[in-house]
């Protein structure tokens, strides 16, 4: 197990090295020295700022040397860079954004898991029934609906239409911290949660249904049935456990991607999480922030993937061999 862990972590580190190289090439490898300095300085930067950036980031040295400085800063000083636009370290900005993205991601994940797995199981168990058709149809619908369209439609229907009639349950856009006012926080999160959750719930419904149907068709399930075990028990004791494995691995991947994948929802609802911060940083040409966010988001994917693999390895020792 320790060996497996080490190997898996080593692979993760390799991926992260490649990610930083890629990020570095995108931002530092394209364009002249001055271009790069200007880009990093943000909009309306002074000549001095540009000169100091060139000096601080060693932009006058060779690309590999620059990359080396970049990595040294990142690894030894945990320094993600400095936003000249905000005159703040990037890590501070990201530190503010992370709780917002996390509360969005975790809440949405809970919702889509419950909705997706329950509807998937129901549809599989009552395969061919009206319920099955309804859930399958709904899943196809939400699966096809782009997140930003869903978000705007929810805002329009559930917020504005109600607000117009004087009913204000959900705030429109914006975000309230959970510590400042938990109730307001909850209210402000409901629409974003569902926006983010419904598309994924559709995916999970399809995944659960397909995998449960496959498992239910297998021999040992037929044996369990033939032995006269009650159908509920067959499904829940024998079927569900093995059919949920793909769901869990998908969840790991999705949770990792969410840090970067909540961009659209955050933008629609004006929540200053990581994604929204990245998008606004483009308008402000605040590249150090984008670089920082990309690295943090990629890191979270890598970590999530390692966790999924560990989970698998604990469940099924054979996995460790590969």
């Amino acid at each position: 197990m320790a060996r497996f862990l080490l190997r898996r972590i080593a692979q993760g580190i390799v991926v992260m090295i490649l990610v930083t190289i890629l990020v570095f090439l995108i931002f530092f490898g394209s364009g002249s020295q001055i271009d790069v300095a200007r880009r990093l300085a943000g909009r309306n930067a002074s000549q001095q700022t540009i000169a100091s950036i060139t000096h601080r980031l060693h932009l006058n040295e060779s690309l590999p040397a620059q990359y080396w400085h970049f990595v040294v800063q990142l690894v030894w000083h945990h320094n993600l860079g400095y936003s000249y636009y905000h005159t703040q370290p990037v890590s501070t900005i990201i530190g503010h954004a992370i709780p917002i993205t996390l509360s969005l991601a975790i809440g949405a994940a809970v919702i889509w898991l419950v909705l997706g797995v329950l509807s998937g199981v129901t549809a599989a168990v009552r395969r061919g029934s009206v319920m099955d058709r309804v859930f399958t149809g709904l899943a196809l619908f939400f699966y096809s609906l782009p997140t930003f369209v869903l978000g705007l439609l929810l805002l329009f229907l559930v917020y504005f239409q109600l607000a117009k009639r004087g009913i204000r349950i959900f705030p429109g856009q914006g975000y309230t911290g959970i510590t400042s006012n938990p109730l307001k926080w909850l209210e402000s999160m409901i629409l974003p949660w569902f926006t983010l959750a419904l598309v994924s719930a559709a995916t999970y419904m399809r995944l659960t249904r397909g995998s449960l149907l496959e498992v239910l068709g297998e021999d040992y399930i037929r044996t369990a049935r033939a032995k006269g075990l009650p159908e509920r028990r067959v499904i829940f004791r024998h079927g569900l456990r093995s059919s949920l494995t793909p769901v869990v691995s998908q969840l790991g991947i999705d949770l990792g991607t969410l840090v970067g994948g909540a961009i659209v929802t955050e933008t629609v609802f004006g929540m200053p999480g990581l994604g929204y911060t990245a998008v606004t940083s483009i308008t402000n040409q605040d590249l150090p922030v984008i670089i920082g966010i990309v690295i943090v988001a990629s890191g979270s994917v890598v970590v999530a993937n390692i966790l999924v693999d560990i989970f698998y390895a604990v469940l099924d020792p054979r996995v460790r061999l590969h």
């Binding site: 096809s144 930003f148 705007l152 329009f156 994948g261 994604g275 984008i290 966010i293 994917v301 993937n305």
Partner: protein
Amino acid sequence: MTIPSAIESHTELAIEPGVAAERAIEGRSTWQLAWMRLRKDKAAVVSFVVIVLIVLMAIFAPVVASLTGHGVDQQFRTTGLNGFGQPVGPNGTFLLGTDDLGRDILVRIAYGARISLLVGVVATLIMVAIGTVLGLMAGYLGGIVDSIIARLIDLVLSLPFLLFAISLVSVTHPGLAVVIIVIAVFNWAAVARIVRGQVLSIREKEYIEAARSLGAGPLRIMFVDVLPNVLTQLIVYATLLIPVTIVLEATLSFLGLGIPPPTADWGQMIAESEGVYQQAWWFLVFPGLALLVTTLSFNILGDGVRDALDPRLERR
């Protein structure tokens, strides 16, 4: 194994006539049979028709423009905006209403279909091409080639797509080509992984060894012998990738990273509707509907194609 049972295996292995006949029917025309099955799938047929209509709308977008008499970028400041400078709703002149600049939404949706379909199809083709070639190489050549490509697949799969798209677009200039390339470059890995998996099992087949024994080189084996055997999977996958790609393009445009204005584009129209749609629902709903109908049709068709090509999975 005892010797007598080795002899029995003679007869065990002999193919019964019934089975042979069944295989013959199955093999006679995978495509014809799939087509027959697909035609019986009502939902798939309807979605196919809808897709054809959308394609026609895209091709004949200029005709839509000339029929209505409204150019795609033409701003109707007097007829298309009301007294407060707000968009007008669906009426006899503007069938689907106007946008915040007084442009005809119907005409812009027709033109927007061109971008969606173009990006959807072209980016998917590039993705499938890259994924197929790398997947074939990884699966068939194995060894170090496989290790490198497998790492590359892992890498690309762990990149947060939208963030990288933002990064790339932020150092280049948004545009059609950039959008297509960004989508393709960050999304081929899933195709490659599927192809690789398929090839790993196909390469153990005896007909691959037969080809090697004839002197066929790896390139020929990969493309002449292996590729046809992953084709059905690829077709299903490509059909299901088109809607994903269309959504990605619309999302990029929605975030202001896609096709720059004033080109008509669904995602961008929806972005422009923000702040206005409270008073002008049609500005949000019709482009959103266009997007939804398109992706839904492709998804239904994709499911239908999969069931038709692979009846084992049929209607589970």
